[in-house]
């Protein structure tokens, strides 16, 4: 990871009441950097500079950052598509975000995968595959390996949306984690829509938290627009898993404040959600809270915003200068065991 693109403060403090304002400010700054970075990428997308999809975590920053901040070195994190804030808090470099979206071959996926499908598995940050629910059992397996290897006190967090709770993979994975009593924290963000699908076409249970009883795990509900609640409840769920209390299911409620992707105008989102508490923007809620508590003021918000913009501009400028992958120089080899590559080596191209 590129240290120059981390914020000055180190992530992952333990959190006492005395330290809470500091934790809160730190969380807000990660959320702000994620929001500013994503706004920049969205703008580049509208300018035709991004190939493929752009997926924003707008409205989900509090949930995501609380998850990332609760994790420590040695833990495993499987973020999904709206977890830019959590990724930054976990320690992913902002450069990984810009290099991958801008298609530089020096990014972590080297052009072989793009946008949110990125990660550094050696560092515990798993790169998602597109099939929803598929990453959760991978986290389970790493936790099983930790057990074999006698690595103690580690946990694994996986993020999903409410739509993914309809998949077989979600079911199998949560059940597996419960049977094995793994220290898995599954953070489900119910943002009311899976692409265009509202929740009444997704599930029939009264509340997703009811599934916790069904799987034999502990459940936690949280207002996803309230950073304090997210830090406390998601932090608490991670701590419970770390204490050996088995899998923890978190259901965080909010509203998706962007399209499914930037190609989507989200016209189908019902405006009635905006009247509800879950329709609030967690950034505004956090700002108002810090002002009320006197943990920050308008000039600090302004300074932080400008810091974020400058970090993002630097990362984008650097990434735009990086070369794209060259098909003639690409190692077209899908096996680690080169001696088992089929028949003839890949055909040379006409370009030299």
């Amino acid at each position: 990871m590129h240290d120059m693109f981390r914020l000055a403060e180190a992530p992952r403090p333990s959190c006492t009441a005395v330290e809470f304002p500091e934790t809160y400010r730190r969380a807000y700054r990660w959320m702000l950097l994620a929001r500013v970075a994503e706004e920049k990428i969205a703008s580049l997308y509208r300018g035709g500079k991004i190939t493929g999809g752009v997926f924003l975590g707008k409205g989900q920053e509090a949930i995501s950052v609380a998850t990332g901040m609760a994790l420590r070195d040695g833990d495993i994190f499987a973020p999904l598509i709206r977890d830019q804030a959590g990724r930054l808090a976990f320690g992913e470099s902002l450069l990984d975000f810009t290099l991958t979206y801008l298609g530089a071959r020096s990014g972590p996926m080297r052009g072989r995968d793009g946008n949110v499908h990125r990660g550094r598995p050696k560092e515990g940050l798993l790169p998602m595959i597109s099939h929803l629910g598929a990453m959760v059992s991978v986290v389970n397996g790493i936790l099983m390996a930790h057990r074999f290897q006698k690595k103690e006190n580690t946990v694994g967090a996986a993020c999903l949306g409410e739509g993914a709770t309809s998949t077989g993979a979600f079911h199998e994975s949560l059940n597996q984690a419960a049977v094995e009593k793994l220290p898995l924290i599954l953070v489900i963000t119910n943002n009311q829509y899976a692409y265009s699908t509202p929740t009444h076409r997704q599930f029939a249970c009264n509340d997703l938290i009811d599934k916790a009883i069904g799987y034999g795990v502990k459940g936690h509900s949280v207002d996803g627009t309230d950073l304090s609640a997210c830090l406390e409840i998601i932090g608490g769920a991670v701590a419970a898993a770390r204490e050996g209390e088995g899998p923890q299911l978190v259901i965080a409620s909010n509203l998706r404040l962007a399209g499914h992707g930037e190609h989507d105008d989200a016209h189908y989102i019902s405006q009635h959600f905006k009247e509800l508490q879950l329709g609030r923007d967690c950034m505004e809620v956090a700002q108002n809270h810090m002002l009320a508590q006197k943990w920050a003021d308008a000039s600090m918000f302004d300074l932080w915003h400008r810091d974020s913009q400058s970090l993002v501009e630097e990362a984008v400028a650097h990434s735009l200068r990086e070369p794209a992958p060259d098909p003639a120089k690409e190692d077209w080899c899908a096996l680690a065991s080169r001696h088992l590559l089929e028949g003839n080596p890949p055909q040379p191209t006409l370009h030299h």
């Binding site: 072989r112 990453m135 059992s137 991978v138 597996q176 065991s337």
Partner: protein, 320 residues
């Protein structure tokens, strides 16, 4: 004497004994020893390393992938190859893409009890090697002998890539050998099971034995048939196949799987493309009929190639 099934068990026992990274995960593999007893007594000998899984093929494979990323060498036992399709997504979209996407190898071994036995029916008989071979990033093994069942499974565990190990259920108890080998051909190398002169049969797994029986029958009519046992169908040893066709000029590819896009189609495509001038006759292939595998032994008996139908096809090939 040691059976094909016992050879698989012995390979697993040695893998568990010699490599602390190995564990086995599947339904009923623990105290019960597995549906076919492939892991009999291993859970007792290696406590905590032979684990019963829930009926969750997606999570079984997904968790094996995670464990492999974290340095373990999991062996996943699918109870039948036919059920592996429930874990298909994890195999082809996660395990097979992991190294290419991330640079991190994914050393899992997935054992698929494959192939038909009398009465096993449509969902306990399938041969799915072509399905998985289609996806980049996987190794496909199809051992035909007791010796290869042993040696190739040990190699599968040692290989850093995901290996789909297609063991044939009909061979489990029917095939026996005197001893287990100390050395073996490596993965990717085919074996000349029977040297010949007049035609080449290229095949794998249980069909090797049917083909050898057909070759014996043809020998009484004065024909010498060469039989190639592919052993690994991906990577497929095209060199050995072409060298044989260079000698004989005629090829019959035999597979127990279905015709469309099967291993036999791949063999013929390669021979036609790379060895066209070696051929004295159009290349032929014989597979199972293009229907689900039937239950009733009368129907099953003619659904797949047999020594008799292979011999008949060879007579046509030799005359053309």
């Amino acid at each position: 004497m040691i059976t094909y099934l016992e050879a698989i068990r012995e390979a697993q026992r040695q893998a568990l004994e010699n490599d602390p990274r190995v564990y086995i995960y599947g339904q009923d593999v623990g105290a019960f020893g597995g549906a076919f007893k492939a892991t009999k007594s291993l859970a007792q000998s290696f406590p905590g390393r032979v684990l019963d899984s829930p009926i969750s093929e997606d999570a079984m494979v997904g968790s094996a992938i995670g464990a492999a990323l974290q340095g373990m060498r999991p062996i996943v036992e699918m109870q039948f190859a036919d059920f592996s399709t429930v874990g298909f997504n994890q195999i082809v979209n996660q395990a097979a893409t992991m190294f290419w996407r991330t640079g991190l190898p994914c050393p899992i071994t997935v054992r698929l009890p494959s192939g038909g036995t009398p009465g096993s029916g449509p969902f306990h008989s399938q041969n799915l090697e072509a399905l998985y071979a289609h996806y980049p990033g996987l190794i496909l093994m199809t051992p035909a002998t007791v010796e290869d069942a042993y040696a190739m499974l040990l190699e599968a565990v040692a290989i850093d890539d995901p290996v789909i190990f297609c063991e044939h259920k009909y061979l489990y108890y029917h095939l026996k050998a005197d001893t287990l080998p100390k050395e073996a051909l490596p993965a990717g190398k085919a074996r000349v099971a029977r040297a010949g002169r007049d035609a080449t049969v290229v095949t794998y797994s249980a069909m090797v034995h049917e083909s050898l029986a057909a070759a014996d029958e043809l020998a009484t009519e004065g024909w010498e048939i060469e039989v190639i046992d592919l052993r690994t169908i991906k990577p497929l040893d095209t060199d050995t196949v072409l060298a044989s066709v260079a000698r004989t000029g005629r090829i019959l590819a035999v597979g127990e799987a279905w015709p469309w896009g099967g291993v036999t189609a791949e063999i013929l495509a390669r021979v036609a493309a790379e060895g066209f001038n070696l051929l004295d006759a159009p290349p032929m292939r014989i597979n199972s009929k293009d229907t689900p595998v039937p239950y009733h032994p009368n129907l099953w008996g003619t659904h797949r190639p047999t020594a008799r139908s292979i011999a008949d096809s060879l007579r046509v090939l030799l005359r053309s």
